[in-house]
Amino acid sequence: MVSTDNSGRKRVGLLVLFAFIALIILLKWWSDNRQAAPWTAQELVILESLWLKSLPPLAEDPSNLVADSLQAAKLGQQIFFDTRFSANGQISCASCHQPQKYFTDGLNKALAIGQTARHTPSIVGTAYSPWLYWDGRKDSQWAQALSPMEDPAEHGGNRMLYARVISSDESYRKEYEDIFGDIPDFSDMSLFPINAGPVSNAEWHLAWQMMSETSQDLVNQVFTNIGKLLAAYERRLMPGESRFDAYVESLLRGDAATGQSLLSNDEINGLRLFIGEARCTECHNGPLFTNNEFHNTGLLPSPGELPDQGRSRVVQQLLEDPFNCLGPYSDASSDRCTELNYMRTEMIELIGAMRTPTLRNISNTAPYMHKGQIDNLAEVLEHYNRAELALIGHNEAEPLGLSSTQLQQIELFLKTLEAPLAESQEWGQPF
């Protein structure tokens, strides 16, 4: 009889187990299929502000007269992928800004001729930013494009070399002259050495110093125009519509049922946290999910490095930059340089502050932060959830106290921002 008792108990145990599993399945089904709570009018306003179709038309760049020229963009595209614009003939802009990786490189810090000090940011949508680089040390896409070309760790060459690539290549020369007019004659080596530029290479630097101001200016003009061509190309790199955008569009149409089929409940919950409790939209706002401003969020430096001073270190440098909007190579009248004219120069918040990156395609552009010091989105979210004291300056973020489930939901939402680039067939590959 003992054995019968045992088998009875076993049967009851199995029934309880079965009921328990059934309950879990039911709960999961219920949580997956129940309608998410409707959005409030205020939340809908925020959702619309993040929608890609809310992006205003790109304003003209008064500092670059060829910014919106298709011919300039096509020539810029060729230069972007051309490795002749480097000291060793092996590096182009696309070496680090790789189209297939949304114009990033997947590395902590960029590797070109050497290793750079910071992580490669995406170029997509940066035409909307008043500031370029993590610390915003350039105020236009064209001025930014010039710096890596002379950085010994990046393209590693010099402006004289690059001006000569344009003037000596028949196709480049013709296109260039169509856009800007005659290119100077650089054939007299006594006036224009093979290599020259205000760079760290002592020989090239000396050659540059030996040149007359007039010769330097002629080279600077061609160098600047290379930057303006690259900017005309980069200006067309815009994000495409993501699942999130389709969701918002359906909500605004009043079609909640379609909306519900586009995003899962977890993704919707993540979105609700993103615009609410997690306070992400304080900085990641607008259709590009960035305010393009500078914030200290208490990031640790890379191992063995001192904390990065960020924005505070470059403000003076930006004001003195000959390639800024107010400088001699800009096409803008001084009153059109509004961002530079009214730039904040002294603020404690600028210490250790870096520019907010876009979150569109963020799940495709690991690692993260200005040094690539965080490997994945889960850890980034943990970082903001903890919001520890900053090593230098003041951490603007505050601890959020979110649960691990909530953090996972935000991460799931961020993946709904994945999308191919707009018009990627045309602009996302070598010309």
Binding site: I46, E282, N285, G286, E293, Y342, R344, E396
Partner: protein, 135 residues
């Protein structure tokens, strides 16, 4: 009785709307700390956008309604709840007459409650006015 009730509720609704409207209108004018100046502003871009540099016209008059001409203005601001300032350094670039000043270079980079601190100097008198706004 039913009609009277509905009339009463309509009157209450109208009263509410009038009060709400007058409250809104009242919020658009700010007194300086000792009540010497009355300040109001209008943005050249409405509604005030985030992440877009734009211009304001500030109107300053005395408590008696006299326009204040040729005052020196110092403009600061920030989000008190976030403990940070404005992202730009706005400047009064032109006196437009009748107590109106052109303010250039204003930009807000977050939605939420902002505070503009306006230091108004005229002769030996310097007064501070606070403008509160929600973006």
């Amino acid at each position: 009785m039913k009609k009277f009730k509905s009339l009463l509720s309509q009157l209450a609704a109208i009263l509410f709307l009038v009060l709400a409207a007058s409250d809104l209108a009242a919020q658009e004018v700010w007194e300086s700390i000792s009540g010497f100046y009355i300040v109001s502003y209008s943005s050249k871009v409405t509604p005030i956008p985030i992440n877009q540099i734009h211009q304001w016209v500030l109107h300053i008059e005395t408590a008696d309604g006299e326009p204040v001409s040729d005052a020196k203005l110092d403009i600061q601001g920030g989000m008190p709840l976030h403990d940070h300032g404005l992202p730009t350094n706005p400047v009064a670039t032109e006196y437009l007459g009748e107590g109106n000043y052109l303010i250039e270079g204003i930009r807000f980079h977050m939605m939420g409650d902002w505070e503009i601190t306006l230091e108004i100097s005229q002769g030996n008198i310097t007064e501070t006015a606070l403008i509160h706004l929600r973006i």
